[in-house]
């Protein structure tokens, strides 16, 4: 680029470094601080009186006043192109396995490797010389695993350009020039399969955003039936530690019916990422018959890695999600945990000596969170195809209290709220989503009215349960007691799901519909039961049969027998 600025360090405070710059700098521009032989990456987040404040994505030990800083003229960007899938990156898109090969056990600072594997791809052009193109137009495609990976004109390109030349069908390196384009001013640009995209700028090369109206199946009953998530929607999972946020995210990343899953492990335990890394290549996606890793990208910036890069990691992840959405694919982004990202913002804000808001979070916390979730969405592309980005973020509220700023700011912008409760997780009721506090604005796989009816039984059963704690079983009428048993029954056989059971851990929508219809019949039926003991025995027996059926695979020989036995038993005491 033409004019890149230089500067010198004037101050260091934690991960913030102040730099006096020479000519001009851009806000959010990337700069490198030279410390000895290493270069440390940072981003300008404030400019005051000729001083640029950089948040540095590395440990700042060893930086001295006077150290040279080199600015790049570019904003923090991700490199997008074929080869992203199956990769494991850190927050700055460094491929971690390659880094391990180079540096061994530890993450050496200041080592930045090319994100995309240096590979050749089978390119098929879909445009010819003389065609006019604008940013985001498709030049051709390459096969990437089970997907047709489209090659785009860079999304940041301004104005209309003409293709001067484009390569024929053939095998080219990911960074080789595949087309040359020119504009009216006589500028010329060489394009390769890899493009760079500033991570904080949303990719908007589509016709229009449309309403997210199709359910995204997670195969978790309580979500799909009661608290659905739509393709292109957003949801959040707040919960205290140990309530199973990460387990739920892992289940979703395995079972969700989408094309691509991007996991952003942001500021959480490294051990959990390791589990995914070791497990996914072994697991087979039942839909495609291929390894789950082939549809997955992992961005991991675990808790002990530099704080500032946490922010970068969620933006890098969402940029990749938007990129694949533009190929007409359904992408699910799972961010675990957005609280850690918010904490990174808080840390930086403190160093900048900004006036703090609630719990010392910066005043712009809400707008940043809103901006991030707004990058989700279902879109109609220029060629009429539909693509979507769904975002699911966990929140780790301090003390498990949902009244804190990050949870509240998130609740304002998401379409579904899956609140995990300590009470349920302590009682080993998994998934520990609180069915009564949580909500969703999306339509699920089951008729809305029926879901509402089922809900009302749960609510009333719960009320009776509360009352019984005070007046005891003796002071409760039989009708109320039956209501209570129905609520408990629904909780045990439908809301709870055993993720360690090979059959129960992922339930298809068809099976959910069948199970719900049986449940619905039980809830709405009247039974002739003599007394409370009789009622308890009946529901216990019914529950046992339902759970047995839940654990029986469709291709199991006992399946039909168990299903009809369950149905028959449900009918046996019914008032005709």
């Amino acid at each position: 680029m033409a004019s890149v600025s230089k500067g010198h360090v004037t101050g260091v405070n934690g991960n913030m470094v102040n730099v006096r710059f020479e000519s001009q700098v851009i806000k959010n521009e990337v700069g490198y601080i030279h410390v000895g032989d290493t270069r440390l990456k940072g981003e300008i987040i404030r400019i005051t009186d000729g001083i640029a404040s950089l948040q540095v994505y590395e440990m700042t030990g060893g930086i001295a006043v006077g150290d040279e800083v080199e600015f790049t003229g570019e904003m923090l960007s991700a490199e997008l192109g074929p080869g992203l899938l199956t990769q494991v990156y850190d927050g700055l898109q460094n491929p971690l396995p390659d880094l391990a090969e180079k540096c061994g056990f530890f993450l050496e600072r200041g080592v930045y490797l090319p994100p995309l594997p240096d590979k050749d791809w089978e390119f098929t052009p879909s445009r010819k010389a003389g065609d006019r193109v604008i940013a985001g137009d498709i030049l051709g495609s390459v096969p990437e695993g089970m997907f047709t990976h489209q090659i785009f004109v860079p999304f940041t390109l301004q104005g209309e350009w003409t293709i001067k030349s484009i390569k024929e069908k053939g095998t080219y390196n990911v960074h080789a020039t595949i087309a040359v384009i020119g504009n009216r001013e006589g500028e010329e640009r060489e394009l390769s399969m890899a493009i760079t995209q500033p991570v904080k700028m949303a990719i908007k090369a589509y016709d229009e955003r449309i309403r997210p109206d199709e359910p995204m199946v997670t195969k978790v009953r309580i979500i799909d039936t009661f608290l659905p998530v739509a393709k292109g929607g957003t949801y959040c999972i707040p919960g205290p530690f140990g309530a199973g946020k990460t387990v739920l995210q892992h289940l979703t990343s395995r079972n969700a019916e989408v094309d691509i899953v991007i996991i952003a492990a942001c500021g959480e335990r490294a051990g959990e990422v390791v589990e995914v890394l070791k497990e996914f290549p072994e697991l087979i996606d039942p839909k495609t018959g291929r390894s789950l890793m082939e549809r997955t990208i992992i961005i991991c910036n675990t808790s002990s890695m530099p704080v500032a890069a946490r922010e970068a990691s969620v933006y890098t992840a969402v940029t990749m999600a938007e990129y694949y959405r533009n190929m007409g694919l359904d992408v699910l982004l799972l961010a675990d945990s957005t609280s850690r990202w918010a904490q990174a913002m808080r840390e930086m804000s403190g160093r900048l000596e900004e006036i703090p808001g609630d719990e010392a979070f910066p005043a712009y916390l809400e707008s940043r969170i809103a901006e991030f979730y707004e990058r989700a969405g279902k879109v109609r592309l220029r060629d009429g195809r539909i693509g979507s980005v769904t975002i699911g973020g966990t929140v780790s509220p301090a003390g498990g209290n949902f009244e804190e700023p990050v949870t509240q700011a998130t609740l304002k912008v998401v379409g579904a709220f899956h609140g995990l409760s300590r009470e349920r997780s302590d009682a080993r009721k998994y998934p520990a989503i609180d069915p009564l506090d949580s909500w969703s604005k999306y339509t699920g796989i089951i008729d809305k009215d029926e879901v509402e009816t089922a809900y009302s039984y749960l609510r009333r059963g719960n009320e009776v349960g509360q009352m019984m704690k005070v007046v005891g079983e003796e002071g409760t009428s039989l009708d109320d007691y039956v209501l209570y048993q129905k609520g408990e029954f629904m909780d045990a056989v439908y809301l709870q799901q055993n993720s360690f059971d090979p059959v129960d851990d992922a339930v298809t929508p068809e099976r959910q519909k069948l199970a719900f219809s049986i449940l619905y019949d039980v809830l709405t039926a009247s039974y002739s039961l003599e007394d409370k003991k009789d009622a308890r025995t009946f529901f216990n027996e019914l529950r046992q049969r339902f759970l047995d059926w839940n654990g029986t695979a469709e291709d199991d020989e006992r399946y039909d027998e168990r299903l009809s036995e369950l149905k028959a038993y449900a009918q046996s005491r019914r008032v005709k």
Partner: protein, 432 residues
């Protein structure tokens, strides 16, 4: 060779500032006061103003004292000579032994590449049934002991240090009462475990800054031993003191506090220490067991709360025993399938029955009638508490499992336990 600065511009709390050039962030400086020589490290640079935190505390520091920058960050000596030695929070000997200066290594080094970590799969046996049977400690795990002042957490740590099947123990003491320090020293010396132990001890009367260095020193040394193929267990007590020391420095530096005065980066500070727990492919491992006292027995206090989000489970130490409820080892699934075929099932059954015992206890205290079943549970509960939960019980895992079967057989009929028939046939004691 290095320039000496003799004009200290300000002294606030334990932080001093001098005007100097060419100083690097995190560098160590030697400060000579009327009390002798001490160290300080650079924590902030602003133009030519350098802020340093003085390890010994700034009390008695004169504006005319001299500061000499050493041009290197804080380091600690690493060799086999460390074994059996006791150091303070600055890494100086506390045991009248010689000062070690060979093979200096950096502290607070970079974090391990997640793609180079391996899944934990070896159990660390401690001889404590509540740990071994119910919440197994796993190599490379990081686990806190949530407790309250007055509970025997240091006794528990000392016992684990003596009995755990590991190669090396690193004990990091923060804000320890002098008596507790002596207790650790005597206990380990008596048992002979001291020869495989390294201690970094900061006592309550030592300068606060040194408290913040203890985990870094301990973990830096532990990490090196692990890279040499050793199984290292790091015991830290008490992490709440460490966090309070961080709070003190942050407030001195006029950082905006986030929650109850703690700095906004408390989570990251704790995580960068706890995440040093690791299992290296083809080498050793670091396991961390850390005491966190909960002020006011409040688990939502920022220190236990942030800790819980970082660690892989927790042990609750209350009323002198490890609580069966609430205590959790997230990694136990990785190991308890390979110990003995009855381990998991027995663990679940015994906990379920103990939970039922608690219900019966509540029923009794409310004056309800006790059924036969309740009586059985009450008998069971008492046996469970005295023969399993009591911290005095000290038996290997296999004996503890046998003891569990014995307790069940004394209190129940086989079918009442909810255990699978095959297991009952194999393990149910034949005669009383």
């Amino acid at each position: 060779m290095q320039k000496i600065y003799t004009k200290i511009e300000s002294i606030v709390g334990n932080v001093i500032t001098v005007r100097a050039e060419g100083v690097r962030n995190n560098d160590l400086a030697e400060i000579t006061t009327s009390r002798g020589k001490g160290y300080a490290n650079v924590i902030k640079l602003d133009g030519d103003i350098v802020s340093l935190q003085v390890f010994q505390g700034a009390m008695g520091v004169s504006t005319g004292d001299s500061v000499r920058f050493l041009g290197v960050p804080m380091k600690v000596s690493f060799s086999d000579n460390l074994l059996g030695r006791i150091f303070d929070g600055s890494g100086r000997p506390r045991d009248n032994g010689p000062e070690l200066t060979e093979n200096m290594i950096e502290i607070g080094g970079p974090s391990v590449n997640p793609s180079k970590r391996i899944m934990a799969k070896n159990m660390i046996r401690t001889g404590i049934p509540m740990i071994d049977v119910f919440n197994s400690l796993v190599e490379s795990q990081k686990l806190p002991i949530f407790s309250v002042s007055g509970e025997p957490y240091n006794e528990l740590l000392a016992r684990i240090a003596m009995q755990a099947e590991v190669d090396i123990i690193v004990l990091g003491g923060m804000g320890l009462k002098y008596d507790d320090y002596l207790f650790f020293k005597d206990t380990l010396e008596k048992s002979g475990a001291i020869s495989r132990t390294i201690m970094f001890i900061h006592t309550a009367s030592d300068p606060t800054v040194e408290c913040t260095l203890v985990p870094d020193l301990s973990l830096a040394v532990a990490e090196r031993f692990a890279l040499q193929g050793k199984k290292v267990l790091v015991l830290l007590t008490d992490m709440t003191n460490f966090c309070d020391a961080l709070k003190e420095t942050a407030i001195t530096m006029e950082q905006v506090p986030s929650n109850r005065g703690y700095p906004g980066d408390l989570y990251s500070s704790l995580a960068s220490r706890y995440e040093k727990a690791v299992s290296f492919e083809g080498a050793g491992s670091v396991t961390i067991l850390a005491v966190t006292t909960m002020p006011g027995d409040d688990v939502t206090h920022p220190v236990p709360d942030n800790t819980g989000y970082i660690t892989e489970g927790q042990y609750y130490l209350r009323y002198g025993h490890i609580e069966p409820f609430g205590s959790l080892s997230r990694l136990k699934q990785n190991v308890n399938k390979d110990t003995r075929n009855d381990h998991r099932a027995l663990m679940d059954a015994m906990i379920k029955l103990y939970s039922a015992y608690k219900d019966s206890l509540e029923k009794r205290s409310m004056g309800f009638m006790m059924s036969d079943w309740d009586e059985k549970l009450l008998k069971y509960g008492e046996a469970f508490e005295s023969r399993m939960m009591d911290l005095k019980v000290n038996i290997p895992l296999e004996d503890a499992l046998d003891e569990g079967w014995k307790i069940l057989a004394e209190c129940f009929e086989p079918t009442e336990t909810g255990l699978r028939t095959e297991l009952i046939e194999q393990y149910w004691p034949k005669e009383r």
